[in-house]
């Protein structure tokens, strides 16, 4: 056996190498590459065109829009539609633009995101690590909540908010958003904390850390990715919400999305496409910004939550 081995290696070094060797060559224009990049380019263009049209239209004056070349870049760039959308456009009766509603949305989104994530992360941590009595039942009910259609709960919640005097108020909407974010966020956090090594939790218990000690000093620092995911989900979800906004708030407290709808649907006079486009982009700016800034973190967080820590 040993003889065979040594003679084989000797023969190999003596003769020059023949046949395929080294890295396998790759063709740039292989069928596979053309298919792959072709599809990617088509899809990218498909998603980019609407944004292109919106930006171009919002920078044109009305006379230029009437020419009908929606793909053409503006001959004369004007920022007037943007100014108008922000501060002068009419939403129903008042004509103060989107600015006020932007701040409404901020006042709704920030507390809702914070409250829902704080509560859901503690929920998820408790469910994953502290097996309390009835934990499974509690979790099942919570998850079941994620599957109940919103329509079923719309009116009951109106009554409940009215009874506690928060109907038509920003605070009421914050509560609604926090509650509706709970099932999916709790699931997200529970799965993430379950994927962290259980021995870390045990070690912390032996080291004398309590419920909150372990949460803040051991779990939290390891959970930045999942918190990023939760923030993105909640910010975009709540910012883009229309249904709850229109149902649970009054005209003074409408979020930006509802105001946008009112601007676009105002029927008197000419349809100002440029203003509508500018208003739409303004409304979409916050989620867009969040995606650009944290897209990479988002993917990492999702992957971390799905596989393991």
């Amino acid at each position: 056996m040993a003889d065979v081995l040594t003679s084989a290696t000797a023969a190999k070094t003596e003769t020059a190498l023949q046949g395929p060797q080294g890295p396998k060559p790759h063709k740039t224009f292989s069928r596979r590459n053309i298919m792959l990049y072709g599809t990617l380019i088509v899809v990218a263009v498909y998603y980019a065109i609407p944004l292109w049209i919106m930006v171009m239209t919002s920078l044109k004056g009305m006379p230029e829009i009437r020419l009908g070349n929606i793909f053409a870049p503006p001959v004369e760039i004007t920022f007037e539609p943007w100014v108008k959308a922000w501060s002068e456009a009419c939403t129903g009766l008042n004509c103060n633009g989107l600015s006020g509603y932007f701040w409404n949305s901020v006042q709704i989104t920030v507390p809702s995101v914070i409250i829902s994530i704080v509560i859901a992360s503690v929920n998820g941590y408790a469910l994953a690590n502290w097996k309390f009595k009835g934990a499974d039942v509690f979790f099942t009910i919570l998850i079941f909540g994620a599957f109940i259609p919103y329509q079923v709960m719309l009116y009951p919640i109106v009554i409940m908010l009215r009874e506690i005097g928060l109907y038509g108020d920003l605070g009421g909407l914050v509560i609604v958003h926090s509650i509706f974010g709970m099932p999916i966020l709790t699931l997200l956090f529970r799965n993430y904390f379950t994927s962290l090594p259980q021995e870390l939790f045990k070690a912390a218990r032996v080291d004398g850390a309590g419920f909150w000690g372990i949460y803040f000093r051991v779990m939290l620092p390891m959970s930045i990715p999942i918190f990023t995911v939760a923030v993105i989900l909640q910010v975009t979800g709540i910012w883009n919400d229309f249904l709850f906004g229109v149902v649970y708030t009054g005209p003074e407290a409408y979020p930006m999305t509802v105001a946008l709808n009112n601007i676009v649907n105002t029927t008197q006079g000419v349809k100002e496409y440029n203003v509508n486009m500018a208003a739409t982009i303004l409304t979409a700016l916050v989620p867009l910004f969040i995606y650009f800034v944290s897209g990479r973190l988002f993917v990492r967080g999702i992957a971390a939550g799905a596989v393991k820590g």
Binding site: E199, K202, G208
Partner: protein, 365 residues
């Protein structure tokens, strides 16, 4: 290093039951561990050894029974109140903390003074020689260094009892052997009670004062490594301990002889368990190294010639597979012996080194 009965008890497990739903993982388990003893819980996976350790640590809520540590009933106590330090298989170091913070975490939880924390961390780091690593994070450490920090975390707590949950299983063979020696040295230096869970019988044999071999949530034998190896109390222990495992031949006890397939072995020198001397069916167990070949044949009571079926050279010794009385038998030969398949060798054995078992109860005779 034998621990005698008159020593103070350090950990007492009384009537311990643990059920997960309908599954009874531990049943009516009793175990006394003496002050300063190194006890190894050994068994294949699923035998309940880690579960027992977690019960002692207080990380699992028990279904019934009591646990005493240093004479104190800690059955309902939190893990941190039990005076234990624990080392885990995956190290379980807090990834975002430096080594120093990892070591001081438990002390901070106890609200100990800064000066005392510093002193204790420095002492533990000195013992384990990890001073240069104190400001690194676990990710920047090798497996062996991480395990050392994990031991340090138990060390700073001045625990009465150290619990090890397969601490070396994640390391490669060379490092495992090195750290094994270090743990043994550490035990000799500190003199603490240590309970060590492993599935590696080499670790168990080398480290333990006493080994508890577990199967199906019960302790099959609790004795010194020497006794477990040489006088296994039942077939399971005999088969589990030793690599390659013991050879078993079925036969009958006839007068003072053991007869198997034409081979008559005089058992006059065999040390029967009290009251178990009898006639009839029995199983004889022979360790591969207790079957002698070559020069050692002179002292053997019984010899016979066998044909070699397979040879496994392992360097220090050579293992041969052969058929004896219709069963495959492993024989350990000197590493310098030159044998090949098909050769005939003469083997012999001494009955006093053999073990006899009852085929029905599987207990030692």
């Amino acid at each position: 290093m034998t621990v005698t009965e008159n020593k103070e008890k350090s950990v007492e497990v009384k009537n311990l039951d643990l059920h997960f739903g309908a599954v009874k993982v531990l049943q009516n388990l009793d175990l006394d561990i003496y002050e300063g003893e190194f006890l190894v819980l050994l068994g294949s996976s699923g035998c309940g050894k880690s579960t027992l350790l977690n019960c002692i640590a207080g990380l699992l809520e028990i279904t019934g029974g009591q646990i005493f540590i240093e004479g104190r009933n800690v059955t309902w106590a939190e893990p941190s109140e039990r005076g234990i330090g624990m080392v885990f298989q995956s190290y379980a170091l807090y990834p975002q903390m430096t080594v120093e913070k990892n070591l001081s975490f438990s002390l901070k939880n106890k609200r100990m003074s800064k000066a005392e924390i510093e002193e204790r961390v420095a002492r533990a780091a000195g013992i384990l020689q990890i001073e240069p690593l104190l400001h690194r994070k676990p990710a920047a450490l090798s497996g062996g260094q991480r395990q050392r920090v994990a031991i340090g975390r138990a060390l700073v707590r001045d625990a009465d009892v150290f619990l090890f949950d397969e601490p070396l299983s994640n390391l490669d063979a060379k490092l495992r052997a090195d750290l094994r020696v270090e743990i043994k040295k550490l035990h000799e230096r500190l003199g603490n009670t240590m309970i060590y869970v492993t599935h590696d019988q080499i670790e168990a044999m080398t480290l333990a004062d006493r080994i508890a071999i577990m199967k199906g949530g019960r302790i099959m034998q609790l004795a010194s490594p020497h006794e477990i190896y040489n006088r296994p109390r039942n077939l399971y222990v005999a088969d589990f301990i030793g690599s390659p495992s013991m050879n078993f031949l079925s036969g009958e006890l006839d007068g003072s002889d053991f007869v198997t397939n034409g081979l008559r072995v005089p058992m006059g020198a065999y040390d029967f368990e009290e009251g178990s001397r009898r006639q009839g069916k029995a199983i004889i167990g022979l360790r591969p190294e207790h079957i002698s070949t070559g020069d050692a044949l002179a002292s053997a009571a019984v010899t016979t010639r066998v044909k070699v079926d397979l040879v496994e050279p392992m360097g220090s010794d050579t293992l041969i597979y052969t058929a004896l009385a219709g069963e495959t038998v492993h024989v350990r030969m000197d590493g310098q012996a030159i044998v090949g398949p098909g050769d005939e060798v003469e083997i012999g054995f001494q009955p006093d080194r053999a073990s006899l078992f009852d085929p029905d109860s599987e207990m030692r005779l």
